[in-house]
Amino acid sequence: MTSPGSAAATDRTALLSVRDLEVRFVTRRATIHAVNGISFDLDPGATLGIVGESGCGKSVSSLAMLGILPQPAGRVTAGQVLLDGRDLVGLSEHDLRQVRGGEIAMIFQDPMTSLNPVLTIGRQITEALRAHLDMDKRAAAEEAVALLDRVGIPDSRRRLSDYPHQFSGGMRQRVMIAMAISCRPKVLIADEPTTALDVTIQAQILDLLRTLVDSEGMALILITHDLGVVAGVCERTHVMYAGRFVETGPTTELFARPKHPYTLGLLKSVPRLDERHHRRLEPIGGAPRDMRELPTGCAFAPRCTYATQASWEVLPLLEPTAGGDHRVACHNPVPDAELVAAGLGLGPDADGDAEDDDQWRP
């Protein structure tokens, strides 16, 4: 199982271990503190969800792991990204190229714009194969057919010579997934893989990801703002706010007993299918933080109903809660009584039965 939290969390080597990663965007006018020290471990076959609203640093973290931050502004200013014990930060472009696609691959948000419109999808899939596995043209084409079959694209052999605009959104996302898994990476990062798709297609793509993770033993990092997606796919969930993890833990535990007011706010702003009475959705007041300066205290304090003087002055660190592996960075965690009032907590899923996660699924 993965272990969240401080840099001193573990001594053993995980497959992917991110240590106090810090990303800044430095421009002449301002410095954006996009990611402010996140740490997590990922074991082979593990599934981790990173949740947060737009601009909290989710995508930037993943771009940083692959060393493809927008240039020239983006840079990793501190921390390590250890893949099998090797630090990817500061690795040469040449070595990083081997890692990208070969060991860590990524699926992007918008399949409509993430495929090159002037190349056939066959060309695009074989590109990675030929770059990493040193295959000749024919072998790569055969492998591409097999890949398309695996991601559920019918008539795959013929479709190799088709162009992206001849595929629908869902099919394009399947192609993107085929590209990403082509070289059997150890880690697959899916950055909002279903956001641009409609709901039935979303379910298909998530099913596909789940199947692939199970059959290939890949570790999956699923980045999303959709709690339902995380609930359906991920064993663990990390909630991110203003470039930091504010709450981490097993998905069931975290959804049943959210401790951070922000997590609770996220859960309360999502409609649930299993409710007898229609509850008003409660938005989180205020706006996301201006990331141009780092707050002294808790970044969420300005929007938090539980905030105290300490919240404004002292930065809360991830501390274990009663729930063991469940950690929260908050001076005033949400009391259990609140959870009951919100219709969460001591519900049927308190026993941690994974099936109950379904209530959150889209």
């Binding site: 190229r97 990208r100 990524m106 992007f108 090159n116 001849q166």
Partner: protein
């Protein structure tokens, strides 16, 4: 609708249309202006290629006596004859060779250097970009024809020099266009996606960035051919054209006969009309191309 049904329907919808360029071709084929332009340009190409077969006489063959005010069109000489007794139709037909050559060669010169500079500036960015673009800004601030005149003065007169000069004046236009296009494409999702699977820099530029950036440059290149023909004709008219005596360059024919406009208007009308028609043909094609390969019009 079940998931399986939805998938099946999705598949049906997908199977239409061919490749990207085939798409553009389809759209071009239905553009009446472009077709008219292509037919017209095709005629000029035929004239140029088969000039010796089509022209009744050689371009410098004397078929009539010298005359101060040469006669206009007759049944024997459709376009009339010039003051040296040469058949004007033959000269105009042979002239199409020069004009097309001039258009193609100068654009090729401008395009190759312009694309090289634009791609370098756009892809590398930073100081290289600033340096290249400032130089280009300076060059662009000089009026094109004036710049071409200066270059001809520098390089000397002659067909090759004139084509080079006109070509060089188009470099900044292509460079700037390609750079802008590359800047936009460089930040696109599919380039990021290509980087994320480990595509090396050269592959990124050649397979992902350039092919998606050249569409506006192709359009500009077509239109630039028309401008090049006019520019060379203009240079010839100003007496800076190809120095080779007797070369049946349309602009040169115009210049030679400008003082006979009243007495023998045919000497100015026919070559002038040829210039207008060829430029019109190319412009029609260029506009059609713009409409058919503009990425913004793409489905």
């Amino acid at each position: 609708m079940s998931v399986a049904e939805a998938e099946a329907r999705e598949l049906e919808i997908e199977h239409v249309g061919g490749g990207l360029w085939r798409d553009a071709w389809e759209r071009l084929r239905h553009n009446k202006g472009a077709i008219a332009g292509a037919v017209l340009l095709g005629l000029f190409v035929i004239l140029a290629v088969f000039a010796p077969l089509i022209a009744p006489y050689g371009p410098n063959e004397r078929v009539a006596g010298l005359a101060a005010t040469p006669p206009g069109p007759t049944a024997e000489h459709w376009f009339g004859v010039d003051e040296q007794g040469r058949d004007l139709l033959s000269r105009v037909v042979y002239g199409s060779r020069l004009s097309l050559l001039v258009g193609v060669v100068s654009v090729a010169v401008g395009l190759s250097f312009g694309m090289l500079l634009g791609a370098t500036a756009g892809y590398l960015g930073g100081k290289v970009d600033t340096l290249i673009m400032r130089i280009i800004d300076i060059v662009l601030s000089i009026p094109g024809l004036l710049f071409a005149i200066a270059l001809v003065t520098l390089l000397g007169r002659g067909l090759v020099q004139v084509m080079l000069a006109v070509g060089i004046t188009t470099i900044p236009v292509f460079a700037r266009l390609l750079r802008g296009s590359i800047l936009a494409v460089r930040e696109s999702d599919y380039v990021l996606a290509a980087r994320s699977v480990g595509t090396p820099g050269r592959g990124l530029l050649l397979r992902h960035i350039l092919p998606n950036s050249v569409a506006p440059v192709i359009v500009a290149a077509t239109l630039a051919m028309a401008t090049a023909i006019i520019d060379v004709a203009g240079l010839s008219f100003l007496g800076l054209g190809p120095a080779e005596a007797g070369l049946p360059e349309w602009g040169a024919i115009l210049a030679d006969n400008q003082d006979r406009l009243q007495a023998s208007p045919h000497l100015v009308f026919f070559p002038g009309f040829a210039i207008v028609l060829s430029v019109l043909a190319i412009n029609l094609i260029g506009d059609g191309l713009r409409e058919s390969i503009d990425p913004k019009l793409r489905a």
